[in-house]
């Protein structure tokens, strides 16, 4: 299987998983965006929020990095620049969810 096919399959699997996760996240976002500190922390430290939010950001960054790398493929001509952009993109897609999950698992009231 060539890399482009693998990338397409990963993109489709992640988008399929992301649709219900995005709906879950939006329904909760409109609920808690104006709530107090204690209520928001309680939301993030409770289950299944902790698990679902972690899953949501992992899949969101995974999907976005694959999608944005396609945009780079379409619009950046220089191979060198494209490589740098992709490396930065993949680094962010690993570091930000990783740090956020650590924060969620260390939150307490």
């Amino acid at each position: 299987m060539i890399n482009a096919t693998k990338k397409w399959i990963f993109l489709k699997i992640s988008s399929f998983v992301l649709v219900p996760l995005m709906l879950w996240f939006l329904l909760n976002l409109v609920l808690f965006y104006d709530k107090s500190y204690d209520e928001v922390v309680l939301f993030f430290i409770s289950q299944p929020t902790k698990f679902l939010f972690s899953l949501f950001i992992i899949f969101a960054y995974f999907y976005s990095s694959l999608s944005i790398s396609e945009v780079f493929e379409d619009y950046i001509e220089s191979e060198k620049l494209k490589n740098v952009a992709n490396r930065l993109l993949y680094s962010f897609a690993i570091i930000i969810p990783f740090l956020t999950i650590i924060v969620i698992f260390n939150l307490n009231i």
Partner: protein
């Protein structure tokens, strides 16, 4: 070795169609959404700093601009959800006919506004 990979031509040479509008919006909302998710990750990180710092964010979301950001966020994600479902149907080989493609494109555009309203109604009253 020279890279012969073709690049996308400039968008201004095409006439505007529903499909091109949805496609461009899909890419723009995708980038907007990951920016929003990154800001939400920072928001979560700020929770570690305690209640006094959080009040700044809470006050911001109480303003007109803060509410506009939340509504915009919900619309942007709603658009992405519907557009992604359209793409998944295409992957199954469904909806490629010009007429169907135009109808589903319109469904994505108008549906995103309806879904935004539904999410606000459901989110503010029913969930958790």
């Amino acid at each position: 070795m020279k890279d012969n990979n073709p690049l996308s031509p400039h968008i201004q040479i095409y006439n505007w169609h529903i499909s091109s509008l949805v496609s461009i919006c899909h890419r723009i909302t995708g980038i907007v959404n990951i920016t929003i998710i990154t800001l939400i990750c920072f928001w979560v990180a700020l929770l570690l700093l305690g209640n006094s710092n959080y009040e700044l964010i809470q006050n911001f979301f109480g303003t007109f601009f803060g509410k506009f950001i939340i509504i915009g966020t919900v619309w942007s994600f709603s658009f992405q959800i519907l557009s992604e479902i359209r793409h998944l149907f295409w992957d199954l080989g469904l909806g490629f006919e010009l007429k169907t493609s135009n109808i589903t494109g319109l469904l994505v555009i108008f549906g995103s506004f309806i879904l935004t309203i539904l999410i606000f109604i459901l989110g503010r009253s029913l969930v958790l």
